[in-house]
């Protein structure tokens, strides 16, 4: 029988088994719901709340205030009060940040919010200017000629403020980079552990002996990794897709080409990272003899994955242009987390990406060779925990057969 058919059969069984496993489904659904929820809620939490401004007998200024705040892109929440007392009570209760009385007096609790000061001053100036023009009997055309400076003062900064491009939003730049790294970490960790427990289950239930009577160990491992990898890919794709749709529909951010590109890189790095780490997880599972041992086998692997994750968050995201970040983003075991972060930040040169992908693929080939041998040597040994050298020695037992 051709290997491709064997791999397909095994992969299909793996996928079906997970898709029918209720705890697996529920766990993943909850994870996805949490991530989607964060994507939808975080910008609201992080984003600026509208400024609550109390109004007492200031209807005349209201349209001007709305005008100015819209121009400045500062959301303002106007609340009307019948009496100064009521407005001041609201001020003391922190329900409003200021109260405009009779269109001329701004009452604040302690400190004046600078945005509010600017909006109210400008709006009040607008209203008074319009009143004077009318009193002077100047026509609207003439008034337009005289004009009133659009911007009362010109602002000049000595230090260039950080560029916060509108179109980068949550999915571009820092947000995309962090989200990508978190997604990659969760996906690789989750599916790596699924591989590990799956292998241990097959080993402890001894079904491996029945399967390996017809199938070669490498086929059994590759089929499992293929099935679970595809499942992981589907879940990641679904998650990214839902995230992008949710973001678009809720109109929180604009989904741009950059966002799609960053998502594409996350998918590519999941494939690279899963290929790199999953055989190591499979090896860990094969060496354990009980489920409890599998957990301790998983610790060193989890530490390596975690190191990459932290390298991305501690070094690459804050200082993408540092030498350390450049180095970390091409080191194979770190690259699946550090490189996508660098790419999402727009700081990865083409040569860096190519180098990092090539190094990751080369080390994957080496690791698959070694881990595959250990898997084959350890998977059929029951009893106590299998030692590395012992597994390597007995790998010749079954690898060829």
């Amino acid at each position: 029988m051709r290997s491709s058919r064997v791999l397909r059969l095994i992969a299909a069984r793996e996928m079906k088994a997970r898709l029918r496993n209720r705890p697996f489904l529920i766990g993943n659904a909850v994870t996805m719901a949490v991530i989607l929820g964060l994507i939808l809620i975080l910008p609201r939490i992080i984003g600026d709340d509208p400024l609550p401004l109390g109004l007492v007998n200031s209807e005349g200024v209201t349209p001007a205030i709305e005008n100015v705040s819209e121009t400045l892109d500062v959301e303002i929440d106007l609340q009307r009060f019948d009496s100064i007392e009521a407005a001041e009570a609201a001020l003391e209760a922190d329900e409003v940040v200021g109260v405009l009385v009779d269109g001329v007096e701004l009452v604040v609790l302690e400190e004046l919010n600078p945005d509010l000061a600017f909006i109210v001053t400008a709006a009040s100036a607008d209203v008074r200017f319009a009143g004077r023009i009318e009193a002077a009997g100047v026509s609207e055309d003439q008034a337009a000629l005289i004009g009133r400076p659009d911007q009362p003062i010109s602002v000049r900064s000595l230090v260039e403020p950080e560029q916060l491009d509108e179109d980068e939003g949550f999915f571009g730049g820092m947000g995309a980079a962090s989200a990508g790294v978190v997604l990659l970490f969760m996906a690789i960790n989750l599916y790596g552990n699924t591989v590990l427990t799956g292998v241990v289950e097959e080993k402890t239930s001894r079904v491996v002996e029945v399967v390996l009577a017809t199938v070669r160990p490498w086929q059994m491992m590759a089929g499992k990794l293929l099935g679970l990898g595809l499942l992981g890919l589907a879940q990641l794709g679904l998650l990214i897709g839902l995230g992008l749709i949710a973001a678009t529909v809720s109109d929180l951010v604009e989904v741009t080409g950059e966002a799609l590109l960053a998502s594409g890189w996350v998918v590519i790095w999941f494939i690279l990272g899963f290929a790199l780490f999953s055989t190591v997880y499979a090896m860990g599972g094969a060496m354990a003899s009980r489920a409890e041992e599998a957990q301790s086998a998983a610790i060193p692997i989890a530490l390596i994955v975690l190191s990459g994750y932290f390298a991305a968050f501690v070094v690459v995201l804050p200082e993408p242009e540092s030498t350390l970040a450049t180095v970390l983003s091409v080191i194979p075991l770190f690259a699946p987390f550090t490189m996508p972060a660098l790419i999402a930040l727009g700081k990865a040169a083409v040569w860096q990406i190519v180098l990092s992908v090539v190094l990751t693929m080369v080390s994957t080939v080496l690791i698959v060779g070694l881990a595959g041998r250990i898997y084959a040597g350890a998977i059929l040994q029951s009893g106590e925990r299998v030692k590395l050298r012992q597994a390597l020695r007995s790998s010749r037992d079954v690898i060829g057969g």
Binding site: I10, S205, G401
Partner: protein, 314 residues
């Protein structure tokens, strides 16, 4: 025909197999016997490439067994193993497809097998929901679903109740009758005796006895002799060289004698001791041959028909 050719395997200090050779012929039922640790499981696993031999080879129809050949083999390992969360029908279908069957024909074969085993109503149950006996049946079905030409079963009777034993015997007989080469290991010697055409006994990795069951009996250099002697059974001694008393019951004496023994002399000796009610001369049982082959002194064995799980098999 499967040929195990001069198999050798060493595990550190332990010699598991040391030059074992024998054939398993189509249509034959071969009982594979030996004390625990004799190397039976190692030999069976080597057929499936689950053990790398240090020497020798496994041949099928004259050529070395290749992965493609194993598609036509069926294996029931000593330690049973199934996907516990998988449904019975799907599991059998899966194992059928792994042996190269199409999904449809594997599913059909699974249906037929489950029907035969009286498990049709459990086709949609998960394996973990089945009783131990039914799990054993499904395990056997997993080895049979692709209608193998060679069936290798490691301790298929262990843990089965008498009904399960009978049904297993029937299935093995039926498969052999259809031309399948069947090989199984067991410690239940009386069961093997009634079922098998051929036996192989190995001990400490070496072949101790091999042949057709009837031939072996005839070829055996010793015979069983049972003498009913009434009360005299308690203290009669035949007093003839080579004749050993194996056991005494209230009114019978059980002897192990050389095949060419002078029966008349024994009968004469018995007659002087008491009234001989019965005098039965028989080929040895498989159990006796087994003990002789693995070097357990027949005299030290308390009972001729000892439960094989007790007498010296550990």
């Amino acid at each position: 025909m499967l040929r195990l050719d001069n198999l050798a395997k060493q595990y550190g200090e332990v010699t598991a197999l040391d030059g074992v050779s024998f054939d398993v012929k189509p249509g034959n039922l071969l009982g594979f016997l030996g004390p625990n640790g004799a190397g039976k499981t190692t030999a069976m696993r080597s057929i499936f490439g689950l053990v790398a031999l240090d020497g020798g080879q496994v041949l099928i129809d004259g050529h070395r067994v290749e992965p493609a050949d194993r598609l036509t083999f069926g294996y029931m390992p000593e330690q049973r193993g199934l996907y516990t969360a998988m449904k019975v029908g799907e599991q059998l279908t899966y194992f059928g497809t792994l042996h190269g069957m199409s999904r449809a024909s594997a599913a059909r074969s699974a249906d037929v097998l489950l029907e035969e085993m009286g498990l049709s109503d459990r086709i949609g149950s998960k394996v973990e929901q089945l009783s131990h006996g039914n799990q054993q049946r499904v395990q056997l079905a997993a080895a049979l679903v692709h209608d193998p030409n060679l069936l290798v079963l490691d301790e298929p009777f262990s843990g089965l109740d008498p009904i399960g034993v009978t049904s297993m015997e029937n299935i093995l007989r039926e498969r052999a009758g259809r031309g399948t080469a069947v090989m199984f290991s067991s410690h239940q010697l009386d069961l093997v005796e009634g079922l098998c055409d051929e036996v192989v006994i190995i001990n400490k990795g070496r072949l101790a006895l091999h042949g057709n069951m009837e031939d072996l009996r005839e070829r055996s250099r010793r015979r069983r002799l049972e003498v009913a002697l009434g009360v005299a059974a308690a203290d009669w001694e035949p007093g003839i060289v080579g004749v050993d008393v194996v056991k005494r019951s209230a009114n019978r004496v059980f002897l192990s004698v050389p095949v060419d023994v002078d029966l008349a002399a024994i009968l004469a000796s018995a007659s002087t001791a008491g009234i001989v009610g019965a005098f039965t001369f028989e080929p040895p049982t498989l159990s006796q041959m087994f003990k002789a082959a693995v070097g357990i002194d027949d005299l030290s064995a308390i009972e001729v028909d000892a439960d094989p799980s007790e007498a010296g098999l550990q």
